[in-house]
């Protein structure tokens, strides 16, 4: 399934680009992160706890950052699995300037297996949007902190 959307940040594009790829920022901004380690250049391993309905569980995964084109775009390959199943995602992130702010456009092709897949796009899409929303709020706070 495809998950896509956009989000408006109040901050310059270069700062956003930097924050979105900073392991420390990610570790604190991603919801439910218990562990976030750089295991190779631009490759991270993470343990996340998700507490939502039937996809509740602990997931371990690997994130690889590809095709970095600062400050405009990058690609993420994400693989994660836990008791309720697994996800593989291929995400493309693009940042465009919007006045003094920045618009982030994201588009991900997500493949799920196990309970996650069986529960269908309805639930998976909702959970993804919820988690992504939490992540953006956290990034927004980081932007505010830097600006302050």
């Amino acid at each position: 399934m495809e998950i896509k959307g956009e989000y408006e940040f109040q901050g310059p594009r270069a700062l956003l680009y930097e924050l979105l790829l900073d392991p420390d920022v990610l570790a604190s901004a991603l919801p439910g992160v218990e562990r976030f380690e750089e295991v190779a250049p631009d490759a991270y391993e993470s343990t996340m706890r998700v507490g939502i309905a039937s996809v509740r569980g602990t997931y371990t995964g690997r994130v690889t950052v590809l095709e970095q084109n600062p400050p405009e775009s990058y690609r993420l390959q994400i693989e994660g699995s836990g008791k309720p199943g697994g996800v593989k995602a291929d995400a493309f992130v693009e940042l465009t300037e919007a006045g003094t702010g920045t618009t982030m456009h994201y588009r991900a092709e997500v493949k799920a297996r196990g309970t996650i897949a069986r529960l269908g796009g309805r639930l998976l899409g909702g959970v993804a949007r919820l988690l992504i929303g939490q992540f953006f709020k956290a990034i927004e706070r980081q932007v505010d902190d830097r600006a302050a």
């Binding site: 799920a112 897949a117 069986r118 269908g120 639930l123």
Partner: protein, 796 residues
């Protein structure tokens, strides 16, 4: 004047007697498999594949095995040392299929390891703790792509994923080669046709969804070397045979019990890996074990039904005379062949003769493996698919020729004087009388009024259509030549002391109401009250022999065995009665059962009560010469042929112009299942069948994504028909008895499912015909209908 006391017993055959089994079933007083609790019982949970296709690289069971209360964790490879590949019931070539995967997984849900633990929740947690690593392989999801060179393959030795290929048609088939001897007649018929309708149609994959999921309890007693298996199955005797064979035991060492079974619909014919595993693990851990399927497992691992793709061509003259049929059918059978998998789609072509004179047919069938749950019987099992293809095509022909769909069918009916009728596929239709059934349906539905109502609605801008279908199906499955398990049925009838009757039947019911219909038959036969009769079933230690309940065979085959056994017991009882009435010099053949007595026909004063004769049979002093004491007889009944019930269904569908949502506003079913024992139960069977057939037409569909992940594995995403979706059904019947059994009964369990599906789709196509629509794939999703409306700019 008669001097008999008490009321005259009413005859019960043909009466709407309420089901005797229902009070206990609806008051929680019945015993299902999950109600069985044995001392020291352990619980199984299965670790299942969450990928569709892959090689098992490693299985780490250490964390699971270390959990307190876990008795055993075992992988498929380890189990294969004691459990061989599972048997199938068809003659087709099949790849090895182990109860638990040994090296490769081929569908989501396939088990890879098993946990035995002290309680169900612990077992499940331990199964979750098993770590499996796979080398993933490309998933094979589309059956047509699966047959192309270069597709990934599921099984070695099955090139291009093809399991079965068959072909017949023309003027005849050479049985040795299965090739047509002369196929040119088909091409000739199509060449001379004025009109040919052609359509690719999908009869989509369905999940049977019995209200009670599967479950098994197995208890191996080492001291006795005896195994007892309780299972939610439609056929405990077949279970016994196959479990014994898999366990290396004789049938004398195995008892199989189907307690109350909450629906089967064909998916509980197959004997599943979980049943063999439970038996083997009970022996291994020396304790009884239980496994109860949850609903997600039911969606993933209980056999699916249907999933046939048809390329159908129908040729006719301008006056509507059908000249020939071509059908190329591709069956997506999923990852493995289970008990009857490969046989089911072969019924599709056989039944595509329908109720018509078909001068020539060409039938091609390919069964294809894909990375999906295996398919097997589902209510109708091959016939709904065939009748759907045929009745859609006939409807398209009517539209093409601008003929009334009823009159086009009438024109091509097999005439009543041509029965028994040999079809192109080699079936012999036992009896049929189609025109009165069609006329009755048109009358009950008010066909002309429906057409006028439709046209008036259209004039108001509403989207309304009417549909009609006429089916024939094959029921009363037997004789042994055509049923791999044996095509007979068994029954025992014992007249007990005190004049009560206990009967057994091998036709193990799971909703069919045999305890009522069979008791009605015995009540009339012996002229005793219904309450004096008990019907036992489902336990191989009580029911000596049996085949089971499938293919609408309970009444036509099981009922015939019952009445045969009752006849034997009754004859013997009359001999005892004649001995008791010896002062009147009565011959047994002069005696009849009447109002609880055995009396000389027409002379009730010369009689003994039923109870007196029963008591005498067990304490026969003096024992009549040449007789054995007791009144317990049994019978095997093997029919000479199947039965071919038929019927006409008519419906009306309205589609919301703005949302595309279809609403079924009228559903009429006039079915002919021969003689009827209990019209209330027949109505119930038809109601359930209609709901399931309408469910296929309008709501249900198993969907896999391109990776072979099932995305409809809960009732959130798999839409079952609900009461509010259905109109009040209008039912009626005609009666054309069968000559192949003494009851004249044909069977009705699957009828509703077969006629209603094409009927409702025909109505939906009729509704959208003003938009240029000639076919709509099932299910009739609002989105699909809305798009068809929009493609035409929303204008009719």
């Amino acid at each position: 004047m008669t001097t008999v006391d008490g009321p005259v017993l009413p005859k019960l055959i043909g009466e709407r007697v309420k089901r005797r089994e229902d009070p206990r079933l609806i008051q929680g007083q019945a015993t299902y498999v999950d109600d069985i609790k044995l001392p020291g019982m352990l619980h199984l949970a299965f670790k299942r594949s969450d990928i569709a296709h892959g090689v098992i690289r490693s299985i780490d069971t250490s964390a699971a095995a270390a959990m307190e209360g876990v008795e055993l964790v075992i992988t498929g490879a380890e189990l294969a040392e004691t459990l061989g590949p599972m048997p199938i019931g068809t003659p087709f070539p099949a790849p090895d299929h182990y109860s638990v995967a040994t090296d490769k997984v081929r569908y989501v849900g396939e088990p890879v390891a098993v946990v035995v633990a002290e309680d169900r929740y612990l077992a499940r947690d331990a199964a979750d703790a098993i770590e499996v690593e796979y080398d993933e392989l490309p998933a094979v999801v589309d059956p047509e792509a699966a047959m192309e060179a270069g597709s990934a393959t599921l099984h070695e030795g099955f090139e291009r994923n093809i399991a079965v290929e068959s072909y017949w048609g023309g003027t005849g088939v050479n049985p040795e080669t299965a090739q047509p001897e002369d196929d040119s007649a088909v091409d000739a018929a199509f060449a001379e046709a004025d009109v040919v309708v052609s359509q690719r149609m999908l009869n989509q994959r369905l999940a049977p969804n019995a209200m009670e999921p599967r479950g098994v309890v197995a208890q191996y007693e080492p001291g006795r070397e005896y195994l007892t298996v309780w299972s939610a199955t439609q056929n405990p005797h077949i279970l016994r045979t196959l479990v014994a064979a898999m366990m290396g035991l004789g049938e004398h060492q195995v008892r199989a019990v189907a307690p109350e079974v909450g629906g089967g619909f064909g998916c509980k014919i197959n004997i599943y890996g979980e049943e063999y595993v439970a038996a083997a693990l009970s022996r291994m851990v020396k304790a009884p074990v239980k496994w109860i399927e949850d609903r997600t497992e039911a969606f993933l691992t209980t056999t699916h039904g249907r999933d046939l793709l048809g390329y159908i061509d129908l040729a006719a003259k301008n006056d509507g005379t059908i000249l020939g049929l071509k059908a190329r059918i591709i069956a997506d059978i999923g990852a493995y062949e289970v008990l009857l998998t490969a046989m089911i789609p072969t019924l599709t072509g056989l039944m595509m003769n329908g109720v018509y004179r078909l001068p020539v047919v060409r039938h091609e069938l390919t069964e294809v493996f894909t990375n999906k749950t295996p398919t097997d019987a589902y209510r109708g099992a091959g016939r709904p698919e065939g009748l759907y293809f045929l009745e859609r095509a006939v409807d398209m022909l009517a539209r093409e020729l601008d003929m009334d769909p009823a009159e086009l069918r009438r024109k091509n009916f097999i005439p009543t004087d041509e029965f028994p009728f040999a079809t192109q596929g080699g079936l012999i239709y036992d009896s049929g009388n189609y025109e009165p059934c069609l006329d009755k349906a048109l009358d009950v539905a008010g066909w002309q009024e429906m057409l006028a109502e439709r046209d008036a609605a259209r004039a108001e801008g509403r989207i309304v259509g009417v549909g009609l279908s006429f089916y024939v199906e094959v029921c009363g499955l037997g004789p042994s030549a055509v049923v791999p398990t044996g095509g007979w049925e068994h029954s025992g009838v014992t007249v007990e002391r005190g004049g009560k009757v206990t009967a057994t039947t091998g036709a193990s019911p799971h909703g069919q109401g045999n305890e009522t219909t069979f008791a009605q038959m015995l009540a009339d036969h012996f002229s005793i009250p219904l309450e004096d009769i008990t019907i036992l079933h489902g336990d191989t230690s009580v029911v000596k022999q049996g085949i089971g309940t499938f293919g609408s065979r309970s009444q036509a085959v099981g009922g015939a065995a019952l009445i045969s056994a009752a006849g034997k017991a009754g004859d013997k009882m009359k001999q005892f009665a004649a001995a008791l009435l010896s002062e009147h010099e009565v011959a047994p053949e002069d005696l009849v059962f009447e109002d609880g007595r055995i009396q000389v026909a027409g002379a009730p004063e010369v009689s003994k009560t039923f109870a007196e004769v029963a008591d005498f049979a067990y304490i026969p002093v003096p024992l009549p010469p040449g007789m054995e004491p007791g009144l317990s007889e049994e019978s095997f009944f093997e029919p000479e042929n199947n039965t071919y019930p038929f019927g006409c269904h008519i419906s009306m569908v309205e589609v919301d112009r703005e949302t595309g949502e279809p609403k079924l506003v009228k559903m009429v079913a006039v079915d002919d299942c021969g003689n009827v024992i209990n019209p209330l139960i027949v109505d119930g069977q038809v109601h359930g069948g209609l709901a399931q057939g309408i469910g296929q037409a309008m709501f249900e569909e198993v969907v896999y994504d391109e990776d072979g992940q099932p995305v409809t594995a809960s009732f959130m995403d798999y839409v079952m028909p609900r009461a509010a979706d259905l109109p009040t059904f209008e039912l009626d019947n005609t009666v054309t008895p069968t000559p192949v059994n003494p009851l004249g009964a044909k069977g009705v369990g699957e009828a509703g499912t077969i006629g209603s599906t094409p009927c409702v789709v025909n109505a939906a196509v009729d509704a959208l015909a003003p938009f240029g629509v000639t076919h709509i794939e099932m299910p009739l999703r609002p989105e699909r209908l809305w798009r068809l409306i929009q493609e035409n700019g929303g204008q009719s």
